[in-house]
């Protein structure tokens, strides 16, 4: 038996198929993963992401600490509520985890990190925080519900506390704010608009049921994965880990190179890799033949070393197979992928594949 989120009984009652995910019993789908995927692209779906780890950093040195801890530059956060996506690197430039940081107060920042990496993340953060005198406070009693899709915000707003409804409606993309003991953010992991809402665990079931009553479809982690893959968003543990840097994981854009004097963990290693020219690059693949691309399949590029698919699946929106892959730097517009003993033709594209319901690739 795995750990259970505050919504476990709701999932059972709504017919979820439950699977183990990083030690948690989580819904993979409620009937059809593909239908759930389409509903998020066309209307609104909700995900229980209460297994994710929320960590507050509290103390006057919270910002200087994050300047050192994160590869992205926390000084991009000047307005309260603004969020930033970043990698947290080791000294070798390898990715310990990717995360979102919210600026709440000058002495209070909130991190959301992956559940599968919770223990090592907390060890690392606590170890690094000591020198800054920053308190690291996990918030295990917060549930988290992501409501995503073109209709998501319209279906959530009427259910929020009236006093906070207008403020939530006015939230800009990638901002969050506190509503008493709730936290509402206009973020997500699907390539669609929507909210991610943190709330006290004893209120989660009631809110979930109210969302269902307002026409929001419960969705499992199965379609969460195909949605994020179409959106070209990385999955930690598949697309990057401690053995690779952001530079070969499609995450160059998240590295805050300037100012030059900001001394973040991993900076020296990243600069060395950048100056030498990365040997690999991170691309999207569209399968042109029939079949399905899968994680770890070999990418064959003429006259170069082999690459590897880091996330491969079926794209319900494009009705074909797509993947993210780490390939040799000299890879051109075409490659082949070894699928069950055969070489299939694939085209190299720049992710995302889908954004806001629309295909981004031909």
């Amino acid at each position: 038996m795995g750990k259970k989120t505050p919504l476990y009984e709701n999932h059972q009652a709504m017919g979820a198929k439950l699977v183990d995910f990083a030690g948690w019993d989580m819904p993979v789908h409620y009937g059809s993963q593909i239908e759930e995927h389409h509903i998020v692209r066309r209307d609104a779906g909700m995900f229980d992401v209460s297994h994710m780890t929320v960590v507050d950093l509290v103390g006057t040195q919270a910002r200087p600490f994050l300047r050192h801890l994160l590869a992205n530059n926390v000084d991009k956060l000047q307005e309260k509520g603004k969020a930033l996506y970043s990698c947290m690197l080791n000294e070798q430039g390898g990715v310990i985890d990717d995360l979102i940081v919210y600026f709440l107060e000058e002495s209070w920042f909130r991190l959301v990190v992956n559940s599968a990496t919770r223990d090592k993340d907390l060890d690392w953060i606590v170890g690094q925080a000591a020198a800054f005198g920053v308190d690291v406070i996990e918030q295990p009693h917060l549930a988290m519900i992501a409501v995503q899709g073109p209709s998501a915000r319209d279906k959530v707003l009427p259910l929020l506390d009236e006093a906070n409804r207008q403020a939530a409606a006015d939230l800009k993309p990638f901002y969050g704010e506190e509503h008493g003991d709730w936290f509402v953010a206009r973020t997500g992991y699907t390539g669609e608009d929507g909210f991610e809402i943190m709330l006290p665990e004893d209120q989660a079931a009631g809110f979930w049921n109210a969302l269902k009553g307002n026409g929001v479809q419960p969705c499992g982690l199965g379609c969460r994965d195909t949605l994020r893959l179409e959106a070209g968003m990385n999955l930690y543990g598949s697309d990057m880990d401690e053995s690779v840097s952001p530079l070969v994981s499609g995450l160059n854009w998240t590295v805050g190179w300037s100012p030059q004097e900001r001394d973040f963990i991993g900076r020296v290693a990243l600069e060395t890799e950048r100056d030498a020219g990365p040997k690999e690059r991170f691309v999207g693949l569209l399968l042109e033949d029939k079949g399905i691309l899968r994680n770890h399949q070999k990418v064959v590029v003429e006259g170069a070393a082999d690459g590897e698919i880091t996330s491969g699946s079926f794209s319900p929106t494009l009705d074909r197979s797509i993947a993210l892959a780490r390939v040799p730097a000299q890879t051109g517009e075409r490659c082949q992928v070894e699928v069950r003993g055969r070489l299939l033709a694939a085209r190299v594209v720049k992710p995302p594949f889908v954004r806001n319901g629309k295909a981004q690739v031909e």
């Binding site: 993963q33 593909i34 195909t226 029939k290 079949g291 399905i292 079926f314």
Partner: protein, 129 residues
């Protein structure tokens, strides 16, 4: 609960087999198997004419999350395959024992089906897994 029709035979790899009047055997994956796999997005069937051994991998069914082999429950020669699945793999989810069949075999031995489980035994097998 998944369906397990009484008039079919079943393998430990979750294939079903139906004896046709002409002596051929139609084969597919069980309702339990399709339910475990989830939404199918790709099905690959063998070329007609191929000879297969019992328990030989002879088709591939891929769901969103994973690829799985389908094994021939009995030995024989493939005489027909369900071409329609190339464009509509989801039919296996919707109608595993009907339109979702995969291959038709001419069995090597006329009593080959006797090696397979009947519906009651298969139901217990699924329960025990």
């Amino acid at each position: 609960m998944s369906e397990t029709p009484d008039d079919l035979r079943y393998s430990r790899n979750h294939e079903w087999a139906r004896a046709n009047d002409d002596g051929s055997i139609t084969i597919g994956i069980t309702d339990h198997a399709q339910d475990q796999l989830g939404d199918l997005v790709y099905v690959e069937v063998p070329e007609p004419g191929r000879e297969v051994e019992a328990n030989e991998a002879c088709a591939v069914v891929e769901s969103v999350k994973a690829a799985s082999d389908m094994y021939a429950p009995i030995a024989g020669t493939v005489i027909e395959v369900n071409e329609a699945l190339a464009d509509k793999p989801e039919v296996v989810n919707q109608d595993a024992y009907g339109e979702g069949w995969l291959i038709r075999l001419k069995p090597s031995s006329s009593d080959a089906l006797s090696t397979l489980m009947d519906a009651d035994v298969y139901r217990e097998f699924v329960e025990s897994e």
